[in-house]
């Protein structure tokens, strides 16, 4: 079976590293694709990517703008916005697009919960 991929987009290298460690320790059968901003994410994403965990505040396009582009390329992609705090209108905007939310910093059990839907 082909390895499932998850796309991590965050301009903080520490945040990416943290998620990488979580996946390496707990969910090693997932393949990680990392990007530091939206532009890089769009150049890396492929059909194998089933899940995207996207930071909101990034240089260039923000997380919601990226999510829309990613969903356009891959309609089945599940996108979660990873944020500590977000303006109400941005929250509503994301929800209206069917984007989920993960509170930052990412907790292991939240990821486990989301990954269940791919079993």
């Amino acid at each position: 079976m082909e390895r499932k991929s998850v796309l991590i987009v965050d301009d903080s290298s520490l945040a990416r590293m943290m998620v990488r460690k979580i996946f390496a320790t707990r969910f090693p059968d997932w393949n990680l694709v990392e990007a530091k901003d939206g532009e890089e994410a769009l150049s890396l994403t492929s059909d194998e990517v089933l899940l995207a965990l996207v930071d909101f505040n990034m240089p260039g396009m923000n997380g919601i703008e990226l999510a829309e582009k990613l969903m356009e390329r891959n309609p089945r992609l599940l996108v979660y916005l990873v944020t500590a705090n977000i303006q109400e209108r941005m929250h509503q905007r994301a929800e209206s697009m069917g984007i989920g939310f993960i509170k930052k910093p990412i907790a292991e059990n939240k990821i486990a919960e989301i990954l269940k839907s791919f079993v």
Partner: protein, 601 residues
């Protein structure tokens, strides 16, 4: 820039050679890193230090540059983002006090990013001292593994106070004692803007019934009124002693009144963004309920509209947006099946052109099926078969705005409730506006609304019919034409009850104002026969545009243009749809503003 992934890897190797240095890592309380083995923990800490230091250095450079370019959006955004990263990192590694400090700094930067507070020396200094404090604490963490005992509360309080300056502008008189520093606001009008922004909660619930004015603006009004008083004295003097000056003095008086009028009207104008913001919530709720994916784009939020107009269009726009999501946007599955993005797009654009506000609601959904509209209209008896064959696409599309029409096969919970788009049409008519619909099957629909920016003063052309004066809104006028004597016969043709006038090789149907006034409720009797027209020495027509249609209003005489203060129609005339409002004329008499859309119905 070094790729962060590689850097992490390199740092882990680097770290392994320094072994014991970070043994305290095990002891970090509340560190979220505890879930990993020691090597990973240490690698994370290394990344924490290096990324934070880089970000802090960038913030420092940015702040220094901001002092010379305080309005630079790009700089502010990048400083904000870096502070956000530092905060996120502190939170991730469980350093709660640093998180609180950097969070407060981030909030202040956020307010600055919005332009509500502009950087000055004091703010710059405080933010720089945040950097120093964070750097010192990072060193402390590196040394001991904990944030140490240093107290950040004073610094946090100062940052909070700076941030609150924006909200405190209105009550600055009270604060001046303890915060003597000058608050630099983005524009002279900012005081006013602040006051209205604070009422945002009210705006959401539609309470747009009061405004706050800065003392400065009120003083401006007072001085205008003072000038009026002085000019009034000049008028009195000229009348009593020096009549030759009267013309000049009256002209001054007229100008001053116009200035005052313009000034007061300005205060009635509000940025439309105040009501648009609430639609994000609406779209979110609709999307969740219908299981659709929708993104709402707002363009032109700064467009200013009279607050009365604002109140009236709030619901109209809500209705149109609701309609776009409910009837326009397809389900994500349908969209993908048709080669579209799963995410539908609804765009609301507001713009101002020559005293008119244009509002456009565009969606990239399934579009309006004209064939189905025709069918439905026939079923409902809104049109006859004969009419259905003759109607152009644009006309057929308009039928969705007719009372009793609903294209949805079932009345949905959202758009339904038995009220259709006719509510929209009625509200726009009441505002003296119009709506144009265009749509492409499979591509989406566009509703373009035109409404006057302010309802208070309308530029009109005065015309007469049956001895009365009427006002025609300038915005509908295409051109004015008069024909005399034998000329008339060359331009008028048509059957007995349907005379047409040829203007520049184009035939326009005619509506005789004289007849329309005599039979206000009978649309069929609004014409004069060709014989009647030819019997008179002159024919004066005003070519008018009503939505997609052009027609010629046949009047007894064309008078001068004017700017009139329009009031609602008196109750006695409220049943006469061709009358849109009343205005007091220079001689004290009352004239009626005509509704152009009603004249051609």
């Amino acid at each position: 820039m070094v790729h962060a992934g590689l850097r992490g890897q390199a740092l882990m190797e680097y770290f392994s050679t320094f072994g014991e240095k970070y043994s305290w890592l095990d002891g970090i309380k509340g560190s979220k890193g505890r879930m990993f083995d020691e090597a990973s923990q240490q690698a994370l800490m290394q990344e924490f230090f290096s990324e934070n230091r880089e970000a802090l250095d960038r913030i420092e450079r940015g702040l220094l540059q901001l002092e010379t370019a305080p309005e630079s959006r790009d700089l502010l955004n990048s400083v904000f983002r870096d502070m956000h990263t530092v905060k996120g990192n502190c939170r991730m590694m469980g350093f709660e006090r640093l998180e609180e400090l950097t969070h407060t700094a981030e909030s202040l930067l956020d307010v600055m990013r919005d332009g509500r507070v502009v950087i000055d020396v004091l703010i710059g200094n405080q933010l720089l001292s945040v950097l120093d404090t964070v750097r010192r604490t990072l060193e402390e963490i590196e040394r001991s593994g904990s944030e140490g005992e240093a107290d950040f509360s004073a610094l946090i309080q100062q940052l909070e106070r700076l941030q609150q300056r924006q909200g405190a502008n209105i009550s600055m008189e009270h604060d001046e004692g303890d915060t003597p520093e000058v608050v630099r606001v983005s524009s002279p009008g900012a005081l006013f803007d602040e006051a209205t922004q604070r009422g945002e909660g009210d705006a959401a619930t539609g309470k747009l019934d009061s405004i706050r004015l800065s003392i400065e603006r009120l003083d401006g009004l007072m001085s205008l009124v003072g000038e009026l008083g002085a000019t009034f004295n000049q008028v009195k003097y000229a009348l009593a002693r020096n009549a030759s000056q009267l013309d000049q003095v009256l002209e001054n008086l007229g100008q001053q009144i116009q200035t005052l009028q313009g000034e007061v009207l300005q205060y009635r104008l509000q940025p439309i963004g105040r009501i648009l913001d609430t639609y994000h919530r609406l779209v979110r709720d609709l999307a969740v309920e219908t299981k659709k994916k929708v993104v709402l784009d707002l363009v032109g939020e700064e467009t200013e509209v009279d607050r009365n107009v604002l109140i009236s269009i709030k619901e109209v726009l809500g209705h149109l947006i609701r309609n776009a999501v409910d009837h326009g946007i397809e389900t994500p599955e349908d969209r993908v099946a048709h080669g579209k993005s799963p995410v539908g797009r609804v765009r609301l654009l507001a713009e101002q052109k020559q005293g008119q506000i244009y509002l456009e609601i565009t969606d990239d959904g399934r579009g309006i099926d004209v064939a189905r509209v025709r069918l439905k209209a026939l079923e409902r008896g809104l049109i006859t078969h004969e009419q259905a064959g003759e109607m152009a696409e644009a006309e057929l599309m308009r039928l969705i705005m007719a009372p009793g029409f609903s294209t949805a096969d079932h009345v949905s919970k959202i758009s339904g409730r038995g009220t259709g788009m006719d509510v929209v049409q009625a509200a726009i008519d009441k505002l003296g506006g119009s709506v144009a619909i265009s749509s492409q099957i499979g591509q989406g629909s566009r509703f373009r609304l035109r409404i006057p920016q302010t309802m208070a003063i309308v530029p009109v052309l005065l015309v007469t019919a049956a001895g009365e004066t009427f006002a025609v809104p300038q915005v509908n006028i295409v051109e004015l034409v008069s024909y005399h004597g034998a000329e008339i016969a060359g331009h008028v043709e048509g059957k007995m009850r349907a005379p047409m006038v040829r203007v520049r090789e184009r035939l326009h149907p005619m509506v005789a104002l004289r007849e329309a006034v005599a039979h206000p409720s009978q649309a069929t009797q609004r014409v004069r026969s060709v014989e009647q027209i030819l019997a008179e020495p002159a024919l004066h027509v005003v070519v008018l545009q009503s939505e997609e249609r052009l027609f010629a209003l046949d009047v007894d005489d064309i008078k001068e243009p004017a700017n009139l203060v329009i009031k609602p129609v008196n109750r006695i005339f409220a049943d006469i749809p061709i009358l849109a409002g009343t205005a007091v004329m220079p001689d004290g008499s009352v004239s009626f503003l005509l509704s152009v859309t009603e004249l051609i119905k």
